[in-house]
């Protein structure tokens, strides 16, 4: 797993992550007991719930990094790249959340989708950050990209509570749905807790690498002209 973006820090986190993931899968798929009500379906929740938490964490990091970039005293493209890397991982985790949620719904209620407030808002968040990533791809200088996407990220922070509130008002979570999620036993709470830890390690590992890849991408873009000129000169001297 070692690569050009690895450092002792990422290797340490990477090893911890892999060990954690092995334990997580072993426990989630085999060692943990079936739920009294949901039987095997609860195992999907072990992925679904931590994944949702991490997606939210990732988007918060994006928002904070965006603010850090916009504030003159801490302006640095590293914040911009961190925002981008975190948003990408956030979209990944949000996709996993939606997918596992859908499968869990199929197992528990027989339907792949419900129009309740939680599911709807999650899908909305997913699309919103896809839009953020699209804005990052609009081109221009690194600083233009950084400023543009930072503003978009902060506008997302503004719009998400509005959407959450209006959707919640539109389709309040019904009583029977919260009961259907069941009471969680201690062992399952423990599994979810461990899942959150393992996924957080994975998140940190991913953004450390991804942020460095983005830095290399920016450096390549900056060097692009230099390289082209150097290649031209080489051709000319032959």
């Amino acid at each position: 797993m070692s690569g050009p973006t690895s450092t002792p820090a990422t290797r340490a986190i990477g090893i911890a992550t892999i060990v954690g993931l092995i334990w997580f899968v072993a426990f989630g798929l085999f060692l943990s007991p079936d739920d009294a009500v949901q039987r095997k379906g609860v195992r999907i929740l072990y992925i679904h719930v931590p994944s949702a938490w991490l997606a939210y964490l990732a988007f918060i990091v994006t928002a904070v990094s965006s603010a850090a970039y916009l504030w003159k005293r801490t302006r640095s493209l590293t914040w911009d790249r961190l925002a981008g890397a975190s948003a990408e991982v956030g979209v990944l985790f949000m996709g996993i959340t939606l997918l596992t949620g859908s499968l869990w719904g199929r197992v528990s209620w027989g339907v792949y989708w419900v129009w309740d407030s939680r599911v709807t808002t999650t899908a909305f968040l997913f699309v919103t950050y896809l839009g953020y990533l699209a804005v990052r791809g609009l081109g221009g200088s690194h600083e233009q990209r950084a400023r543009r996407s930072a503003v978009v990220a902060l506008l997302a922070v503004l719009e998400i509570p509005l959407v959450h509130f209006s959707v919640e008002w539109w389709r309040p979570l019904h009583q029977q749905e919260s009961i259907a999620k069941g009471k969680l036993e201690n062992l399952m709470l423990f599994s979810l807790f461990v899942g959150v830890i393992v996924f957080t390690l994975l998140y940190v590992w991913l953004i450390m690498h991804r942020q460095r890849v983005l830095a290399m991408q920016d450096a390549l873009d900056d060097r692009g002209l230099e390289f082209a000129i150097a290649e031209r000169r080489q051709e000319a001297s032959l």
Binding site: L70, F124, V127, T128, L130, G131, A134, V135, L138, G139, G140, S141, E143, Q144, R147, R148, V151, V152, L154, L155, L158, E159, L162, V163, F165, S166, V167, W169, W170
Partner: protein
Amino acid sequence: MTSFAVTKLVAAKDLRIELRSRVLINQVLPFAAITMVLFAFALDQDDLLVRVAPGLVWLATLFSMLVVVQRSFAVEAGDGALDALRVAGVPAQGIFFGKAAALAVQLLVLETLLFAAAFVLYSSRFDGAGVFLLITSALAASCGLGLVGTLYGGLTTGTKGRESLLPLLLLPVVAPVLIGATRATEAALGVGRISMQEGWAWVALLVTYALLFGIGGSIGFGPLVDDTA
């Protein structure tokens, strides 16, 4: 020149351009009308149409808004007018509120005609008791739409195929307006099991939305349209 004076000038300019070119009337309105007709083809049941008419009117408004927003910035792009204004030191806030106001006015005209179309095409009924709610909710919704439309329109204007990004960015943002305006309209028209009181609560949401994006947009619009590094 104060921001407020700039706002009035920009709004008047945009509306004057619209009055002379009549793009809204000649192009957007027929598009919205066709959309309303297509809804009827797709949904195929007359009693269902009455029930969902409020939602359809606001959906048609949102889709048409995409065209109106792009038009609002296309009139600037031709001569680089927006950049010229910014370079001349015109406050971005003034431009933002001016264009948002013009956009809101155009949307209100559109909505009025769409509601009239709904009464004709979908046999919506109206008993007068909800007229105040109807007008207030349309005003609040249009203000919100004008503000976010100008904000994201400014972001996606320009070269290299940015305009295709406008729907992806704008439609999720206006979801609360769609929800709120539709519910308030349902209450005003007496459709569905929603009380007038609840309708007014939704209007409160629409006003909050407009306020928040008015503030957020006035701060964010400048950085978004200034393409200098």
